[in-house]
Amino acid sequence: MAQLNNMMRMGKGVRFAVAYHGDGKGIFKRIMRYLLADHKGIFCLACVLIVFSAVASIGIASFLGIFVDRFITPLRGAEAPDYRGFIGALCFLGGIYFVGSLSNFLYNRIMVSVAQGTLKRMRNEMFSHMQRLPLRFFDTNTHGDLMSCYTNDTDVMRQMLSQTIPQIISSTISVIGVFSMMVFYSVGLTLLTLVFVSVMFLVTRKIAKKSGGYFIKQQSALGRENGFIEEMLSGQKVVKVFCHEARAKARFRELNEELRFNASQANSLSNIIGPISNQVGYLQYIAVAFVAALLAMSRSVLALSPYGWANGLGGALSLGAIVSFLNLVRSFNMPIQQVTQQFNSIVQAFAGAERIFAVLDAVPEDEGGTVTLAKAEEHDGVLEERRDGTIWVWKIPGKNGFRYERLRGEIRFYGVTFGYEKEKTVLHDISLYAEPGQKIAFVGSTGAGKTTITNLINRFYDIQSGTITYDGINIRDIRKADLRHSLGTVLQDTHLFTGTILENIRYSRLDATEEECVEAARLAGADPFIRSLPQGYDTVITADGANLSQGQRQLLSIARAMASHCPVLVLDEATSSVDTRTEAIIEQGLDKLMEGRTVFVIAHRLSTVRNAQAIMVLEHGRIIERGNHEQLLEQKGKYYELYTGKFELD
C-alpha cells in the first residue's frame, strides 16, 4: 500500500539522482544512525515483528500441505470421521494467521512513525545546518540543487526507510526459511532451482542496468526540458514581443522528442522485467517438475533428500516431497523478485542521502567574536547594564569583567582588501570613515565593488587584509549575530516572506509594536499604497511578493529596515524602482529617523546620493574620488562625468 503512497507522490519530485559516488557502506551506516537516533527500541520491535510475519507466512505455506495430508486425507471416506484433529488444525492455522496479520499491521504502523520521524529529524537538521552556513555556500550551490535535497532526496529516503528496509528484512527471512525447507526436501532439486534463480538475477540485472541507463537519460532530458519550459514561459512576454514563437516551438519539439524517446525506452524496459522474471519462474517450475519426476521414477539418490532419508527412502524423493517442493518453488521466487525490484530504490536513496550528507557536512559560519550587544542605562556618566535600559551598548569582555561602550554607529575601514575568490581581488585598499549622523554614499558603475563594501560591514564575507572597526571595535571581535542586529540593511534584491505586510515589516525587529511598524511604513512612503490594499496591513503577500510591483516591494523593504531602529542603516539600490517623488518622501523620513545615526547609501541616481555628507566614487574596487556633491562637481572628474552625462558627448 506504500505503493499507493508512491503513486500519489509521483510527479511531485521530478529530478531523481540515479547514482551515488561514495562508499555505500558508510552511507548506509549513517542512514541507520539517523534511523536509530530516536527510534532504537521501537525499530528493533518492528524488526522482530517483521520476522514474526515472515515466519508466519512460511509456516502457513508449509502447513497447508501437511494439513491436507494429515487431517483431510485420512478422514476421507470414513463412516464417522473424527473431526477433532481437523478442527484443532484449523484453529492452529487460524492462530498463525492471526499472529501473521497482527505483526504485519504492527510493524507497518511502527515503520510509518519511524520513517516519518527519521525524515523529520533529517529535514530539521538539514535546515538548521543550512541556516548556519556562510553565504559563500549559497554562492557556490544553486538553489535548484539545494531545493532538491529537501524534496526529491528526502522523498527517496522516505521510500527506502518505510518500504525497502522492511521489505529486505522480510524477504531475507522468507528466502532463508523457504530455502532451508527446500533443502530439507531435496538438495538436488534446490541446486536446480538456484540455477534458475541466478539466471533470473542475471537477466533482471541486465535489463535493469539497461533501463537504468535510459532513466538517467530520461532524467537529464526532463531536466533540460523543464529548464527550457521554465525559462521560456517566464520570458513568454519577450517571446511574444519578438515574435519568436515559431523558433521556440521548434526547439521545444526537439527537447520533447528526446524526453519522449528516453522515457518510452526506460519504461518499456522496466515494464518487461516483471513478465520476464515471471516466465523464468514458470520455466523453473516445469524443469523442477520434470527432474523431480525423473528422479522419483528412478528412485535416484541424486535427489539428496534428507526428508527421504528420514522416511527410509534413502536420499530418494517421495511423491509428497515433490508436491511440497513444487509448492515451495513458487513461494521461493516471490521474495527474490521483490528484492531485485528494490535495487533501484536503494541506489536512488543512497544517492539522495549522499547529497543530503554533503549539505550536513558543509562547514558552518563561525559565531564571530565575543563582544555582544546589551542595553544599559547611564548614571553620572557610568554605563550600567539593565535589561530594560534605553541605550544600546557594546559589552566588551576584558580581564577584569566587562567594559561598556556606547553604540554610536561609527564605522571605519582601514586598508581593506577583499575578493570573493582568492585570486580575484574586488576591493583594493579601501579606507573610509563614517561618523555617527553622517550619510555616506557610494557611486560608481556596475561591478565597481559598491555592494561588496556593505557585504563586508555585516560580515557576510571576511576581508583578506585590513581592518574594519565599529565604534572602535574590530568587527571580528563582535559576535556576528549582534553585529548584524546593529545594522539595518536593505538589500539590492528585495526579498519578502510569505505572510502579512505587517509581519514583513516586523521581520527586522520581532518586538516592534503595530504602531511602530505603521510609523516605519509611513516614513518609508509605503503607507498610502498599503492602505489602498483590500486588507491593508493584514494583506497576505504570496511567495516573494509577486503580487506587488517592484517599487512597492522596495518600499516595504525600506519600511522593514526602518522598523529595526538600528544605529546604522545600509541601503543598497533601495529605491531604484521608486519614482523620484516618493523617493523624496522616503528621504525626509530617513533624515528624521536617522538623526545622529549612520547611513550608507548605494545608488545610481543623483537625487538619491546628492545630500550625502560624503560621496565615494568607486571604480574597479578603488575609491577614486571623495567629497560632497558640490566638491565633486567642481573636481569635474568621474563623478561629474557620471552624473551630467555631458562629458564625452558631442
Binding site: L93, Y282, H495, D579, Y640
Partner: protein, 586 residues
C-alpha cells in the same frame, strides 16, 4: 475534460487500445498456468503407492509442454503490453506537453497574466507527469486487474462451483472495506500535500532570502518556522499513512479468513468425497490473484481520482482561447512610425469602470523622440504596451502608420514596433544567439553595430569569448545594466519603425544612458522613439515629453515648456536636480 485530454493521444491511439487487449492475453495465461499446474501436481499425487509410471511421466511432460507454450504466450504478451503501454503513455505525455506549449504560444499578454508563468510551468511539468502515470496505469493495470479477477473467479467456479462462492463473499467484503478506507485516506493525503508544499515553500524562501535572514539574524526564528512545518508534515503524513497501513494486513486478514473458510468447507467436502484434493489446492492458488486484483483496482481508481485536479489544470490550458487574434485580412506593411491614440481607454479586466487609462489622445509623428514620465502606478507601461497590440484597447483606437493596430498582421506589427520591456529577460545561450532574436539571420557586423548603438559592444569585448559568451539561464552571467543594454541591442536589430524603451536604462549609469540616447538620435533618426524613464535627464532632450498621472495625460510638450506649464513635471525635475545644480545638468 477527459475528451480534451484524450484528443492528445493521436498517433498512439493504436498502442493505447492494443495494450489492454494484450493484457487480456497475459492475464488469461496467468490464470491458466496455475490451473495446468494443479493437473501436473494431480498426476504426481494420484500416482499412488506404485510410484510414477512412464505413462505418468508422459503426462507430466505433456502438462509441462503446455505450460511452456503458455509461458511463451504470456511472455510475448507481457513484453508487448509493457512496451506499448510505455510508448503510448510517454507519447501521450509528449503530445500533451506539445499541445500545451503550442497553445501557450498563441496566448496574448492577457492570457499569460491570467495564468501566470509559474502556474503554466507547473501545469506543463508536474501535472503532465502525474497524468502520464495515471494514463499508463489506466491502460496497463486498470484493465488487467479486473480481468485477472474475472478469470480467476471463472476458473474457481469451473474447478469447484460448490465452494467458489466463498471467494465472492470475501471479495465483496474486501472491496467495500478498501474503498471505504481510501475514501477516508484521500482528504488526509490532500492535507498532507498542502503541508508538504508549505514546507517546501519555507525552504525555498529561505534559500532565496538567505541574505535577509542573516542580515536580521533571524536564523533561529526561521528554523522554528521550519520545525513547525516539518511537524505538520509529520502529523499529517502519519495520520494519512496510519489509515493506509491498515489496508495490507486487513487484506491479508480477509484472504486468510477466506482460506480458513475454504479449508473448513472444502475439507469437509473432501472427507465426504464431494471434492478432489487438487481442486482445493487449485482454488487456494487463485485466492491471492482475486484479492490483489480487487485491491489494485481500488487503488488505481483512487490514484486517478487524485490526479483529477492535474487533468483539469491541463485541460484549462488547452481550452483557453487567445484574447488577441490575427485579423482575417491582415495588412503586412507598416508604412511609417507615426503613432496615434484616439480616445483610448483601457482596463485590464475589460470592464469600463476600472480603467487604468482614460481618454488618451496623442499624435506622434514618425521619427519623433517622445519621453514618458510619471509616478509609480501612472500606467506608463500600460500605455506603450497598446502600441504593439500586447493588449487590445477597451475603447478608442491605437494607430501605427495611420492604420488601426487591429488591422495588421500581428507579426508584422510587432516586427515594426520593437519594445524593450521593463521586466526584460535574456535566455540561456550566447550573446550572439540572444541578439539574433531580433533578426534571425543577422551578420556579425550587424550584431556589432546594434551592440555599439546600445553601448554594449565595449563590455562584450571584455568578456571571454566575446559575442559567444554564454549568458546562463535568464542571463545571470551579466549585470543588470549590461542586461538592459543587451536587450536594447536585441530590439534595435529588428530595424523597427517604432522603438519603445520601457524604463530600459534604469540600471545603466547616467553617462552610458546619455550615450545610448545620442547614438539613437544620430543613427536611427527615422525611428520613432518612445522612452519611459524615472530620470528627467533621460527624457529632457526628447522632442516632446508626455507627463502621465493616474492614467491621464496631464501635459505633453518640450522640456522648457513643461517646466513652465506642468506642475508635476517641475516637481519631479526639482526633486532630481535639487534646483541648485541646474548649471551642472545643463
Amino acid at each position: 475534460m477527459i475528451k480534451t485530454l484524450i484528443g492528445s493521444v493521436r498517433q498512439y491511439k493504436a498502442r493505447a487500445i492494443l495494450t489492454p487487449l494484450i493484457m487480456v492475453g497475459e492475464s488469461a495465461m496467468e490464470i491458466l498456468i496455475p490451473w495446468v499446474m494443479t493437473y501436473l501436481i494431480g498426476v504426481i499425487e494420484n500416482a499412488g503407492e506404485s510410484g510414477l509410471t512412464s505413462a505418468d511421466f508422459a503426462m507430466i511432460a505433456r502438462y509441462g509442454g503446455i505450460m511452456f507454450l503458455m509461458a511463451c504466450v504470456s511472455l510475448t504478451c507481457g513484453v508487448l503490453g509493457g512496451r506499448f503501454a510505455s510508448q503510448a503513455s510517454a507519447g501521450f505525455a509528449a503530445n500533451l506537453r506539445e499541445d500545451m506549449y503550442e497553445r501557450i504560444q498563441t496566448y496574448s499578454f492577457a492570457n499569460i497574466d491570467r495564468f501566470s508563468a509559474s502556474s503554466l510551468i507547473t501545469r506543463m511539468t508536474t501535472d503532465v507527469t502525474n497524468v502520464q502515470t495515471a494514463f499508463q496505469m489506466c491502460i496497463r493495470i486498470l484493465v488487467r486487474a479486473p480481468i485477472l479477477f474475472l478469470f480467476a473467479s471463472i476458473m474457481s467456479f469451473v474447478i469447484a462451483p460448490q465452494i467458489a462462492w466463498i471467494f465472492l463473499i470475501g471479495a465483496v467484503i474486501l472491496a467495500v472495506v478498501v474503498a471505504l478506507l481510501m475514501q477516508k485516506v484521500q482528504p488526509n493525503f490532500r492535507q498532507m500535500f498542502k503541508k508538504y508544499d508549505k514546507l517546501n515553500s519555507v525552504a525555498q524562501e529561505n534559500l532565496t532570502g538567505i541574505r535577509v535572514v542573516k542580515a536580521y539574524v533571524l536564523e533561529n526564528e526561521e528554523i522554528e518556522k521550519y520545525r513547525q512545518a516539518t511537524q505538520a508534515v509529520y502529523d499529517y503524513s502519519v495520520r494519512a499513512e496510519k489509515i493506509l497501513v491498515v489496508v495490507t494486513p486487513l487484506a491479508q486478514a480477509v484472504i486468510y479468513a477466506t482460506t480458513l473458510v475454504l479449508l473448513a468447507v472444502g475439507g469437509v467436502q473432501i472427507i465426504r468425497n464431494g471434492l478432489q484434493v487438487s481442486d482445493l489446492t487449485g482454488l487456494l492458488s487463485y485466492c491471492t490473484q482475486i484479492f490483489s486484483g480487487i485491491m489494485t483496482v481500488t487503488m488505481v481508481l483512487n490514484f486517478i481520482a487524485m490526479s483529477r485536479p492535474a487533468m483539469e489544470r491541463i485541460a484549462e490550458v488547452l481550452r483557453e482561447e487567445s484574447t488577441i487574434k490575427n485579423p482575417a485580412d491582415p495588412v503586412f506593411e507598416v508604412t511609417d512610425g507615426s503613432v496615434d491614440f484616439e480616445g483610448v481607454s483601457f482596463s485590464y479586466s475589460g470592464r469600463e469602470d476600472n480603467c487604468v487609462l482614460h481618454d488618451i489622445d496623442l499624435h506622434i509623428r514618425s521619427g519623433e523622440t517622445i519621453g514618458v514620465i510619471g509616478g509609480t502606478g501612472s500606467s506608463k507601461s500600460t500605455l506603450v504596451s497598446l502600441i504593439p497590440r500586447l493588449y487590445d484597447v477597451t475603447e478608442g483606437r491605437v494607430k501605427v502608420g495611420g492604420r488601426d493596430v487591429r488591422e495588421y498582421d500581428l507579426e508584422s506589427l510587432r516586427n515594426a514596433v520593437a519594445m524593450v520591456l521593463q521586466k526584460n529577460v535574456l535566455f540561456s545561450g550566447s550573446i550572439a544567439e540572444n541578439l539574433r532574436w531580433g533578426k534571425e539571420d543577422a551578420t556579425q557586423e550587424e550584431l556589432e553595430n546594434a551592440a555599439r548603438l546600445a553601448c554594449a559592444d565595449e563590455f562584450i569585448r571584455q568578456l571571454p569569448g566575446q559575442y559567444d559568451y554564454d549568458l546562463g539561464q535568464g542571463g545571470v552571467n551579466v549585470s543588470g545594466g549590461q542586461k538592459q543594454r543587451l536587450c536594447i541591442a536585441r530590439a534595435l536589430l529588428k530595424n523597427p519603425k517604432v522603438l519603445i524603451l520601457d524604463d530600459s536604462t534604469s540600471a545603466v549609469d547616467m553617462k552610458t544612458d546619455a550615450k545610448i540616447r545620442s547614438a539613437l538620435r544620430e543613427h536611427a533618426p527615422e525611428v520613432t522613439k518612445i522612452i519611459i524613464a524615472q530620470r528627467v535627464a533621460s527624457v529632457q532632450d526628447a522632442d516632446r515629453i508626455l507627463v502621465l498621472d493616474g492614467g491621464r495625460v496631464t501635459a505633453f510638450g518640450g522640456h522648457e515648456q513643461l517646466l513652465r506649464e506642468s506642475e508635476i513635471y517641475r516637481t519631479i525635475y526639482e526633486t532630481q536636480n535639487g534646483g541648485n545644480c541646474n548649471g551642472a545638468a545643463e
